[in-house]
Amino acid sequence: MGTGKRKKSDDGEVEAAAERRGGGGERVKEKKQMVLPSLIKNKEKRSAVHAKLKRDKRIEKRKKAKAQEAALQRALEIGEEPPPKKVPRTIENTREPDETICKPDDEELFAGNDADEFSEVLKQDVTPKILVTTCRFNSTRGPGFIEELLSVIPNAHYYKRGTYELKKIIEYAKNKDFTSIIVVHTNRREPDALLIINLPEGPTAHFKLSNLVLRKDIKNHGRPTSHKPELVLNNFTTRLGHRIGRMIQSLFAQDPNFRGRRVVTFHNQRDFIFFRHHRYIFETKEKKADPKDKAAKGAKEKNAPPQKVIARLQECGPRFTLKLITLQHGTFDTKGGEYEWVHKPEMDTSRRRFFL
């Protein structure tokens, strides 16, 4: 039965094709190209059409690139302004407009920043002192991660969690003049969440932690020194982003030791915060006669010094990604707490909407 049915539909299509053929000679060709390969039922024919389409597309693309290249060459020869380079459209640069993005001339923002919970640390009135602890069950990668975290964050102290409640720990840390608590939460022996509590008044940020790579798993990793690191915070643009950025900033000492040449980066891209830890070095090198560069920088090379300074990076690890889940007003309180920001499914109206 099934085959019979299929035959029938095949017949239908043949008829339809025949009808199309009935039209004018040129139009037939046009129409034939318009037929989507996915509509053809015979696999061999379909793959043939698909391959042809693909080939045509590739040729077209190459032609376009060649034309562009030629235009550029011509412009260079004549000495004209080269045609403007096209900027690819990405999700970030087509981000939905957001009124919460901070403007540099916003008086209220600065007044608000001066008054917020982190200003004491950021104005260097208080030196940050961090308590690092874990969830109750902690093994394998957790301790390794914490060890590396302690080497990244200056003045961080690890305390065993024991069976204490987090609220008790917060009380204890307040009495001992800690400025922040970091709780590494582990699930199935893999760290999967990070809780950062600013003391004494909050806020509390809850991050999802993923893609954790420890130092020993990074190829050609370096060993960090105990100097205070420099901090790079990228792309924290909105109000919420600023707040998170300032929170992260308040974990680190505000007077980096540049001699140490250590840099800690928190890079925000599409609401994911990427953490990297590097050592850098500026090296003076004899300028190599690079055949590729020569053509482009022909004129420049004559008056340039024979030596040039290059910066080299070496990653020190760990490497991980954070995503904000909630930001809570006040210190950790799951029952009676108020949230400043919670992610809700109804907020995901677009791929181009970001919150940080």
């Binding site: 999700i91 939905e96 009124e99 919460t100 916003d106 008086e107 209220e108 923002l109 007044a111 608000g112 001066d114 008054a115 917020d116 109000r239 007003h329 029952k335 009676g336 707490g337 108020e338 949230y339 400043e340 920001w341 919670v342 992610h343 809700k344 109804e346 907020m347 109206t349 677009s350 791929r351 181009r352």
Partner: protein, 359 residues
């Protein structure tokens, strides 16, 4: 395919709302025309975190409206809500701040009386304050342009409780009764003319497992305008409770709503609908005759709701909170009309109902 949907905000009818925030600013938001987009038209006060607003009360009158705001530094200010002139400032607990023990006591409730002393050409503001430690104080203050011979009553103050923290207070429409509740304090009703407690709630019994939920009220209001006997309260254990003081001391109806504490409860004009806002930004309306959820207000609300205000005539409610947005909703269709970003953690919103677009 990228899903790119623009925010669909139909715009709201012409109205004027005033918000107060944690930085001590008072912002005026106005929407003009039939379907206007609300905009910030005025900002009053210098940004200063020590002057953060904790409570606000608005006497919504045609002539001589008055806005009272209680600040963090124990000051109560009276503003003209039309142009922002400061009409009077009083320091409420001068005596308390001396002994130092109550230094960390903060305002939680403020009510400006609308009907009392109106015969004195309303140049005298009568207000009730309530602090976290349970000190209630009823006093009056002469406004700036008051006649010099005007005598102000001596303030009468009383203690609501000896332990626990007061978190919510409300005064009924006739302004004869006030209710207080808080962490470790059951809802209690006071007669303001005699300054005496007339009713206290009783905590619900422990559940079938023998677990007793500690008392922690986070929001309370009177259910209807005419009746002071029905009280709606929200708790930190995410329950909305209806108390009827003429019936029993335990709640008549108790409904659970979602999983975060109820932070704001506001009554409607019709006497049975209430609006409820929670600590994680959920806004809903309940019919308190049956205790049924009428529906939720869905609109990207991502921070704790601190305050809800109902427009007396138009079917519009305004909500604000820690996500720094003032949102205006259609009370009937539960649709978001518009949202205004106000940059700070907002604490209170009031609606000026006598605003007309021409004026």
């Amino acid at each position: 395919m990228p899903r790119a949907s623009a925010l669909e905000c139909p715009g709201c009818p012409s109205l004027r709302a005033l918000t107060t925030d944690a930085l001590g600013l008072v912002k005026v938001v106005e929407a003009r025309g039939k379907v206007g987009t609300p905009k910030v038209v005025e900002t009053w006060g210098p940004p200063d975190a020590s002057r953060g607003v904790l409570a606000a009360s608005f006497a919504d009158r045609k002539i001589d409206p008055l806005l009272a705001i209680a600040r963090k530094n124990c000051l109560v200010e009276f503003l003209n809500p039309l142009n922002g002139d400061a009409l009077a400032t009083t320091k409420v607990d001068e005596s308390d701040s001396l002994n130092g023990a109550l230094k960390n006591d903060q305002f939680v409730g403020l009510h400006l009386f609308r009907t009392k002393k109106i015969e004195l050409s309303s140049r005298l503001a009568v207000f009730l304050t309530c602090t976290e430690k349970g000190k209630a104080c009823l006093r009056s203050v002469a406004l700036r342009d008051a006649p010099a011979d005007l005598h102000t009553d001596s303030p009468s103050s009383w203690n609501i409780c000896t332990s626990g923290n007061v978190t919510c207070s409300s005064v009924d429409n006739t302004e004869n009764y006030a209710l207080f509740g808080g962490k470790g304090i059951e809802v209690n009703l006071w007669d303001l003319s005699k300054c005496s407690k007339i009713w206290t709630a009783k905590s619900p019994p422990s559940n079938s497992l023998g677990i007793f939920t500690p008392t922690w009220f986070t929001a309370a209001t009177f259910l209807s305008k005419e009746d002071h006997r029905k009280i709606v309260a929200g708790t930190a254990s995410h329950q909305v409770r209806l108390y009827d003081i003429s019936a029993q001391r335990r709640p008549v109806i108790s409904v659970s709503f979602r999983e975060s504490p109820i932070k704001a409860v506001t009554e409607d004009m019709d006497g049975y609908t209430i609006y409820v806002g929670t600590g994680s930004g959920d806004l809903a309306s309940f019919d308190m005759r049956t205790g049924k959820l009428l529906g939720c207000y869905v609109g990207k609300c991502c921070g704790s709701i601190r305050s809800i205000a109902r427009h007396p005539e138009l079917p519009v409610i305004a909500s604000c909170g820690l996500d720094s947005y003032l949102r205006l909703w259609d009370a009937r269709t539960r649709q978001l009309l518009s949202a205004v970003f106000l940059k700070q953690h907002l604490t209170n919103v009031v609606i000026d109902s006598h605003f007309s677009a021409e004026g």
